[in-house]
Structures are given as C-alpha cells and as structure tokens.
Symmetry: C2
Subunit: 489 residues, 2 copies
Amino acid sequence: MNKDLHIHNSLKRTKEQFEPYNPPYVGLYVCGPTVYGEAHLGHARPAVTFDLLFRYLKHLGYKVRYVRNITDVGHLESDADEGEDKIAKKARLEKLEPMEIAEHYARSYHRNMDQMNVLRPGIEPRASGHIIEQQQMVKKILENGYAYERNGSVYFDVEKYNREHNYGKLSGRNIEELRANTRELEGQQEKKNPFDFALWKKAAPEHIMQWPSDWSSGFPGWHLECSAMSTRYLGHPFDIHGGGMDLVFPHHECEIAQSTAAKGQESVRYWMHNNMVTINGQKMGKSLHNFITLNQFFSGDHELLNKAFSPMTIRFFTLQAHYRSPLDFSSEALEAAEKGLEKLLKAGELIDRIKGGDQTDLDLGDVEEKFYQAMNDDLNTPILFAHLFDLVRYINSLDQGQARIRHEDIPRLRSLYDTFVYDILGIRRESKSDSSQLPGELIEMILQIRLEAKKNKDFETADKIRDRLRELGVIVKDTKDGYDWEVKR
Amino acid sequence: MNKDLHIHNSLKRTKEQFEPYNPPYVGLYVCGPTVYGEAHLGHARPAVTFDLLFRYLKHLGYKVRYVRNITDVGHLESDADEGEDKIAKKARLEKLEPMEIAEHYARSYHRNMDQMNVLRPGIEPRASGHIIEQQQMVKKILENGYAYERNGSVYFDVEKYNREHNYGKLSGRNIEELRANTRELEGQQEKKNPFDFALWKKAAPEHIMQWPSDWSSGFPGWHLECSAMSTRYLGHPFDIHGGGMDLVFPHHECEIAQSTAAKGQESVRYWMHNNMVTINGQKMGKSLHNFITLNQFFSGDHELLNKAFSPMTIRFFTLQAHYRSPLDFSSEALEAAEKGLEKLLKAGELIDRIKGGDQTDLDLGDVEEKFYQAMNDDLNTPILFAHLFDLVRYINSLDQGQARIRHEDIPRLRSLYDTFVYDILGIRRESKSDSSQLPGELIEMILQIRLEAKKNKDFETADKIRDRLRELGVIVKDTKDGYDWEVKR
C-alpha cells in the first residue's frame, strides 16, 4: 500500500511529496478565527479542510502538533492598517470589555466546531497572550534593518526587503504592481511606501487594548501574530502552514517577509490554501443579505434556507468538493448532500447485518488502494467519495442478497468503512431529533404487539399501530419474516 | 421583600452588607485552576460556591463581570519559591509542550464544570497571556521601594512592607511568627528574609516557559498573576475576590501586599473564602489513596466509591453545606444526597399537575421571604434547602390531595421553585440513562394499546405489557381514570 502523501504547495504552485523535517513529528499551523462575531462558512471551510489533513496525518502515523490561533486583538479594519481595531470597536459599542467579547465568540466558535466534529488543535494561542513574542520579533526585524519607526509605530520596509528577497513570491504580485494599485489613504503619511505594513501601531489614548513597548503604548500589526506564534510552538522552520486563499495576500506574504527578515530564512516548508466559499454563486457579505452563520444553517433561520441543515451535512458537503476548488452553498445543494450523507451512513449500519459466504464480488484490497490513492493525491475527497459510493452500492447489493462477500472479508469491510468514513473524514451519526433517539426496544415491543394482532387477524389494530408509528417518524415495512423499521426525521 | 445581601468578609472576619463600588456593576474575581491535572473536589467546591454567588448577584439585578483565571505558568512546587514549575516539569516528563498540557487540562476542567452546570465566567485570563501586565506591576513595586533584585530575580521585601502596612492582616499571621516558623531552604540565600516571596524568577536555561524582562529571562511569581489580572479587567479597587480557604496564606496575603505596594491601597473590598473538602474525614491526597477526580466520581471508577455519582449530585451535595463549613465526601453521604436531589426534582415535576381550588394552606409570600432571608445571610444554602424541602412536602401533599392551594397561586409556586432551584442553585434535571429519554409519546401509545386490551378483558396482554415496560424502566400504575407512569433509572 503506497501511503506517500502528496500535497499542493502554494509556494511552489505544484504538488509535492510531503516530507516532514523531523519524522514522525509534524508541525501544522493554521490561521484561526478573529473572534468578534458568529462563525460562518468562511470559518467552517478552513477548519474542516485542515481537520481532514490533521486526521489523515495522524492516520498515517505522524505525531502532529497542530496549532491554530485565536485573533483577539490587532486585526485592523482595512489592510491599509488604518481604522479601528475591530474588536475594540465592537466592545465600545456594546460597552463591554473587549476580552469579554473575545471569550464569548471564541466559545461560540468552539461550540460550532465541536458540532461539526472538527477536532480541537493541540494549542490555540491567542494574539493578546503573545505580545512579548511579537515585540521580540519587531526588535529583530528592526535590528536587521528591514523596518523603521515613525512616531511610535514600526513599519516593515517592503522596498528594502524586496531588493534582497522576493516580496510577492507566494502571491505572485510584484512591487511595481502594488505601487501602481495601492491608494494613498489618509494617515499613511508615516509610511515610506503605501505598501509598507505595520509591525507595531501606536495606539490612541482611547484604544482599550494596548501594551507598553520600546516604541509606544500600542498593539502589534495583524500579520505579526502568526509569524511569532507559529515558530514559538513549532520551531523554525516548521512543516505546514494552512489557511484560506483570501489570506495569501497580504497576510501570508507578509508572514514570509517577516520571518525571513527576522531569521534570515523562511519559516514554512509547505503552504496550503483552501479555496473560497460562495452562496448561490455570490460572495458572502452582509450588504448582499446572504451572510449566513453556522448557527443559522443549523437552525434553518435564514431567508435563503428552505430548512435546517445539520452540522454533519455542512461538513459532508464541504468535503465533497476538493479543498482547492471553489464551493457554492445553496439550500438545494445541501438538501442533496443530506440525502447522500444519509445513504453513506445507512450503508455503514447495513454492514453489521451482512451475511458472508465462500465467494466475493469485490476485492477489498483494490478498494483500499483506491481510497489511499485519492487521499494521497492532495486530499482528493471528491474521488474518495466516488469510490466510497461505489462501496455503498456494493453494500446495498450485499444486503439485498444480490452480491457476495466472503465471511472473512466482513470485518475488513467494517474496518475499511470505519477508518475512512468515521476516522479520516470525521463523519459521524448525529442524533437528529428526539425521534431518532426512540429506543429501539420500545419500538420492538410495539411491533411485537402488532405482529400478534396480525396473527390474530386483527388487521385494524395492526394498521392503527403502523399509522400511529408513522406519525411519530417510525416507518414500518412488512417482510416475509416479520417486519423491518427505520426512524425518519 | 428585603433583598439586601450580607456576605462574610474574611478581611474583617465578620458579615457585612454587600455594597458594590459602582452599582449595578459588580466586579468578581475568583482564583481558578492550575491546569496540570484532572479536576477534583478541590476545584469543584470553589467553582460551585462562586457560581452560586454569580447567579445570585445576577438574580438580584447586578451586572456582574466575573473573571476567573487559568494558571498555566509560574505555580512553583513549594511555597518557598524553589523547585520546578509544575507544568514545565510534567511537560518534560511527557515530552510535550507545556501549552499543549495546559490546553488539554483546561478543556477537561471546562467539560467538568459544564457538566456541573457551573456558568462560565465572562473572562478567563491566562497567566502566560499577561506577562507584560505582571512585569509592569513588578516595576511599580520596585519603584515604590518594596522589592529588591538579586541575580536577575526580584523579591518582595516583606519586612519593609510590614513596617508601613500590616502584612498578615488577612491571614492573622504576624511576621515574628513567620520568622520563627519558616525554614531556611536551599537556594534561598538570595532572599533577605525567608518569608520574602518572588515577584520575578530568573529561569534556568532548560526552563521551557520563560520571557525576557528588565531583570532576566524568567517567569513571574505565582502570587503576581491574580493581582495583575484582577485589576486589569475589573479596575482598582474592585468588589469581591474569592477562592479556597487554603489560598488565604500565602497567596491572598501576598496579593494584598502586592497591590498595596504597587498602588498605595488595597484592591479588594470583600474577600470570600470557601472551606475545605475532606474524603471520609481525611484530607485528600495522592499518598493517602483517596484522591478522586471529578471524572472518577462521574464514572464510579474508584475504590472508595460504591457507584457512579452524577455531576448534579456532586453539585447538590456541595450546596447542601454552607460554603464556609468543611465538607466531607463519602460514597454513603453522596447516595443520600442523590435521593434528596431526586425528591427535589420530582416535586418540580409534580407542580405541573397540581389542581388548585379556592383555599390555600401555605402563604407563598412567607416562603419566598424565607428563601431570600437564607440567601441574603451569606448564601446560607443549608437553611435554604431546609425551607425548600418544607415546600417539597407541601407539593407532595398537594399532589396527594392532602393539602390545598389557590388556583392563582400555582403559577407563583412554579416560578418560585424554578427561580430558586434552577436559576439560583443551578440544579437541573440530567438525562440519566437512555431510558429517561424514552419519548412519552411512544409510552403513551403502548399504554393506550394496553388500555384497550383491558377493556377487551385481555388481561394477559395487559399484564405482559406492564411487565415488559417495567423491564425497560417504565413503571405503570393503574388509576381509576386509566393509568399513570414514570420512568425510573
């Protein structure tokens, strides 16, 4: 079985074989949420994407240290580094302490991610908790001559850096283009060039979140936290840095520049980026009235949704697309995904009642090989799902007595299904509604009563029981041996 | 209704009327867990105690900012400030990053507290996330002349402080006593006096958690974090500081000294301390083999436990004692508490089927008055429970038709019960086993079938259904109108 993982490295614009610096250890850093609002699809997609990577790396036997940050300070409203700190602004509006807001939304984010079966990273460092590390990095960059101070703020000197290194190597932008396209915004007079970015910003007195420093009482530039915290916990250099494609520029480009300027070499070996999310073909945005939070998906409480969608449906739908392809959400597409998920889970249950024989119609070794091939090809989940649904059809045929499997292959089928569906893809059976928690024993008891009624030719009672159960969401099918039943939503 | 709360102020050694600095706002700070192990009763008791206070203050209409810290660095193994940082030590043993261990146990703590229905504080600051604030406080204390530096470490000068202030005012200890009783430990030569305590410790090179400072690369003394973080989020001075009685000395005594030395006046108006926990009459300790974690209580997996106890039983048992009394846990005492809790919850369910009339045997106004009197008297929960169980007896009598209540008093009874049991005491009905989640509709359906069988004189079927339901934990009682049922464990 070839278990060599290949991943697409955004830096090289090609797929490469994954080779960690210190096997079996792998360092993985992913840009996490800015906690000033409810989590939405833009949070869900990277979380699910890198959860898949985390799970697969662990499955392959790597010991993964997974770090995902929580941005609770310093994320400015525009990339031009002007404007207010988003969190501080909301705090003032709501008359709350910024940290109270950050705690509130961090908890809400965790709840949503737990619902979607996204594993918690080993470390979730907060930007506000690593000010010293960030200040040390600013000092180092200043010492190395790639930054300058103006009125208590410190800016990264992009032009100087670009003379010796390649600013734009990740995003493919070049400095002349940037010069032409960057508007001169108010308050940027401090910068030598409009594309320079802040490492440390002097804070206005009314700014709530500020810390003393060698330059001013202020706060770190947004790009700095990831450079400082990733290397703090993963060392320098480390293996994989992930995030959404929208972060390639300026965020990740600036991270590369900062690390190189501070340490003389880049920190990251593999850059991985998930593609973006649209809703009914449009970019998600509050002004477009198509901004749907995860809680709204889970409750169905949004005008664009026909119904509620379970966290597992959102996860399954996200994984059906390759992470580097755009993903368009719509109520209709999710309804289709819901059905697919149900088929997949149903097949998992059927495995337990399959009866084996001496012959088989499917070589499980081939299936396993295909599963690994798909995953090893840059986590190609659409291909994996295609193979998985081939397997689902086989399982259904087995259940209906229209295909054969050897006795000894049944445990292997169970294990193959569980490994890929539950462990690697992180799909799980949800308790959907109260009706799905109806204990089977009670239903069995009622159906035994019904069976006796039928035997006594009391068809009126038998039908009444069947109809009443249907009202409660329990579908009864008569079979030649007795009955079969399942719980529908 | 007199809603004036009186609380016992450890500083004054007496009960005082509670008057916040800026009503309706209340600042509440409580010492939280050191996250290097599973939570046990020593964590549960303060968490439940101050959760009760938090809930009651909110019930009284206060807007409470509740801050509870997470100690993830700097808690030394001995109060003498020598030895290794506990977390860093475990990390080295397990070859893990200390932050990974801290995250692991912080999550485990949160899970346990959620299970016990302990509300999350608004802010949970981490010591490692507030190094700058702590360093600033060290600077201020040095500037004010109450600390001295030795070889990169900074110590608080207790003797100097005590000449102008009263070191020992909270704990009642005095400096001569301390001088006589403090042993000179190895490595303490740096200190002027053995009872001086560290504000900043220079770290050995192999110490994983260390930060640069004006004095050395090191870490803050343990007492410092609470002084720095409480005032950071609650201002100076603030209303209430809580914690376990074991923290009075040295931790809280040192906090008072630090704040006074840095700011010229004390930070805290009311100090509140919960008493300690014993197990079968003994102090809990790993060497005594009576160290039981909360997870072990919840699973019953410990030799001293006869069975598993639900998180709500632990909460109920904790609240049955006054928070300033010692509390002795034993399997037998918890079994009794379990029965009491069940009675209390059962009464809450009975209220919904009580039938009212024109007369009443109980003045609910009196009851309410007694409830508030108990809570206002320093959260006197044993008295509150005594009154509550009087009410439970009344509810049972009502249910049995042996007492009377006016129609219009029933909603008031409901509201009184819900407010005190669910909202203030934070008791809730747990889903115990699968059988308690049996949907009533299915049971009703079966019992309707049984009723029809009885009408048709088919007693055999009727009895079979009753017996089978009993096996599933559903107890059926025949009444003159039909039937009644309840789910037992």
